[in-house]
């Protein structure tokens, strides 16, 4: 696989996991969980994954947004544009945070395994889906574990170019002091050094025969401690790194909505030193947007589900008020996936991407996209 395509795998895996875990952990109701199995089946469909793991050029930001929109529509329901934008921004900033703060470039793979572990945990009782998820692990392991630290750094640098100049402020990041008011992330100068690195401060000097003749400590600035043990790159194992882990720390109660009081008590019991504070913000948003969610199982064995969405977000309320009567209770069809339909849909999705990314007559058109996006951000 061309080196240039590798970064997109991580973004896709993280996107998929984010959607799944957002919806899983919002704990809406049990029939919705049944519905989620179908979503996971779709996302880990062999054909979809084969497409995903094929060499492909680094997507333009526009194309990546399109993937996001399609995943969102397949997994949740039609959200309005403003909500989609907000969710996308949150997701992007979360990914940027994870890539930037990885202690070693190779830890990007461990972060992806954290995402995957959470997905696998949910489907552990459903063998057919579990095997698809396991297959994804195998592909990730096969493709990425042979890479060197330097090659991972190149992947990381490519991802960082993708996220460059994005400084969207996320309120929970700001509150948790993970992000500054100028939108830049806080880079800690303390904590354990990455695996393989020594705590800064020591200079050792040698004679030409190799004997150490002098050692000097210099004042290091920062407050570092020894590296933790290395996380596991196997199918199962302790990943050690906390970035990308489950939304809540162990002692934090799972909440479906955030009232002021309960949020405070959650803060007190917070244990994880590297939490994913994005989670609360995302769930807040999602819970508001999905507030009136009602899932009705169909009367007949046809595996179609219908979902009613009653938006509760202020903006959406306003939109509803102004919307003509005949549209005010919009029934949105979420197709539960029969394999054939899924394949066709995915093929169509992939086909659309391929069309977008086809080399056109002018070789710089894709670059124009990227440039235009970057210009827009500058």
């Amino acid at each position: 696989c061309e080196r240039s395509c590798l970064p997109m795998h991580f973004i896709h895996i993280w996107q998929m996991s984010l959607f799944l875990r957002l919806t899983l952990e919002s704990k809406l109701n049990s029939s919705f969980i049944f519905f989620m199995n179908d979503i996971i089946t779709t996302m880990f469909n062999k054909k979809f994954l084969d497409e995903l793991f094929k060499p492909q050029e680094l997507y333009s930001k526009k194309a990546l947004r399109t993937v996001f929109d399609r995943l969102a529509h397949a997994s949740i329901m039609r959200l309005n544009q403003a909500s989609m934008d907000k969710l996308y921004d949150l997701m992007t900033m979360a990914f940027k945070y994870q890539v930037l703060l990885c202690p070693r470039p190779k830890d990007i793979l461990l972060v992806s395994f954290n995402h995957m572990d959470a997905i696998r945990d949910f489907v552990r009782d459903t063998p057919s889906i579990l095997s698809q998820v396991d297959e994804t692990y195998r592909q990730l392991i096969e493709m990425y574990t042979p890479l060197s630290g330097g090659e991972f750094q190149l992947i990381r640098q490519t991802l960082l170019i993708f996220f460059q100049d994005m400084h969207i402020r996320v309120s929970i990041f700001l509150k948790d002091k993970v992000q500054n008011s100028n939108g830049r992330f806080v880079l800690p100068t303390s904590g354990p050094v990455p695996f393989g690195t020594q705590i800064p401060g020591l200079i050792r000097m040698f004679s030409c025969s190799g004997d150490e003749v002098k050692r000097v400590q210099f004042r290091s600035a920062g407050n570092y401690s020894s590296a933790l043990r290395e996380g596991s790159f196997e199918m199962y194992g302790e990943r050690v790194i906390k970035l990308g882990t489950n939304m809540y720390s162990v002692s934090r109660p799972v909440e479906t909505h955030m009232s002021g009081a309960s949020k405070n008590s959650a803060q007190h019991t917070k244990v994880s030193t590297a939490p994913n504070p994005l989670a609360k913000e995302e769930l807040n948003l999602l819970a508001r947007l999905m507030g009136g969610l009602e899932v009705r199982k169909p009367a007949n064995p046809d595996s179609r589900f219908r979902v009613n969405l009653f938006a509760t977000d202020e903006e959406e309320e306003e939109a509803l008020i102004s919307r003509p009567d005949e549209l005010s209770y919009e029934v949105i069809n979420i197709q539960a996936t029969k394999d054939q339909q899924a394949n066709a849909e995915l093929a169509r999705i992939m086909g659309e991407f391929t069309e977008q990314e086809e080399p056109s007559a002018s070789p710089s058109s894709k670059g124009d996209d990227l440039l235009a996006m970057m210009d827009g951000l500058c």
Binding site: R3, S4, P103, G150, Q157, D165, T189, F206
Partner: protein
């Protein structure tokens, strides 16, 4: 150190090794800086009185004309006896410009769309192709665009990350060039009609991202945050420094004073002093001071002059070049 007025650049720095190049033009009392942002190179020329700045942006190209989206991996000035060239290496090819970026002198396509870098010794330009580990040697005429590929050095098996030529100005040292790769292997060369490999200093499976050669001594910065000082021709380790808590992105040496500058992802720029003890064949390393650029992963750090009186720093996502001068 005093923090001096920062220089704003048109777009932010990308996270690339050695992402700052400095050219001092004494006759015109100007210093040029270049910083890479994706497929664009930001050039700033700053007058020494601090009053005048002018900006130019160069885009990566395909062939001589067509603008390209291919990412630029490095932009640096190559100082030759008779001229200076600005060399950009992108995934598609190598572009050489006159030093102010005004005219493209030469374009060389690379078969493999990988990520070369470039440096330059006395008479020739070296450009390597990271994927194969080969190093391309070009002959540059004193005028004009008749650039020729003269040799390909194939010693590295891993991607080549950085190269450095002997910067002391003295001809007494045998080694002219050192090349570094992603496995940490350092190759030491002597230039000539054909290049001669003098020594291979083995890596320890950690990427060497930045390397410098001064008075026959190699200074190498690694992904583990360590700096190692070697004797070039023999590979003897003079010193090991646990310098940074994260990946080192940039090293520089001020040849007249022996100051060493290191910048890393841990937000720190550190200034060291190297003292040669030729009698004992040893090198002493002393830490002088550090500066922290808060919440910034440093990607470029260079001295602005041969004495190390001033240095400049770039960081990922930062749209300025931060300068420091000795108090």
């Amino acid at each position: 150190m005093n923090g001096e007025k920062s220089i704003q650049i048109k777009s932010s720095a990308s996270a690339l090794y050695n992402n700052l190049s400095v050219l001092r033009i004494a006759p015109r009392c100007l210093t040029y800086f270049t910083v890479v942002h994706a497929n664009v190179v930001n050039m700033v020329s700053a007058s020494w009185d601090g009053l005048n700045f002018s900006h130019r942006q160069l885009q990566s190209k395909e062939g001589n004309i067509a603008a390209s989206s291919s990412l630029i991996m490095q932009a640096s000035w190559c100082v030759l006896p008779s001229r200076e060239l600005l060399v950009l290496t992108s995934q598609k090819g190598i572009q050489m410009y006159e030093s102010d970026g005004s005219i493209m002198v030469y374009w060389h396509a690379l078969d493999n769309p990988e990520t070369p870098t470039v440096t330059l010794p006395k008479t020739q330009t070296f450009i390597e192709r990271i994927s194969s580990g080969s190093v391309l040697v070009f002959d540059i005429p004193s005028k004009g665009s008749n650039v020729m590929l003269s040799e390909v050095l194939e010693e590295h098996r891993d991607a080549v990350t950085d190269m450095a030529s002997e910067c002391s100005g003295s001809l007494e040292y045998m080694a002219d060039l050192v090349t570094a790769d992603d496995s940490g292997l350092l190759c030491v060369w002597k230039s000539g009609e054909d290049f001669q490999l003098l020594h291979k200093i083995p890596g320890f499976d950690v990427s060497c991202s930045s390397v410098k050669l001064w008075k026959g001594t190699v200074a190498a910065g690694y992904g583990t945050g360590q700096i190692r000082i070697y004797e070039a021709v023999t590979g003897i380790v003079h010193a090991e420094v646990n310098a940074h808590a994260r990946w080192i992105y940039s090293l520089d040496i001020a040849p007249f004073s022996g100051l060493l500058l290191s910048g890393a992802e841990d937000s720190l720029v550190r200034v060291w002093h190297l003292t040669m003890n030729p009698d004992a064949n040893s090198v002493e390393v002393e830490h002088l001071y550090s500066e922290c650029i808060t919440d910034t992963q440093i990607c470029g750090a260079k001295f602005c002059d041969g004495d190390g009186y001033a240095f400049a720093v770039t960081g990922y996502d930062l749209s300025e070049i931060i300068r420091y001068t000795q108090a």
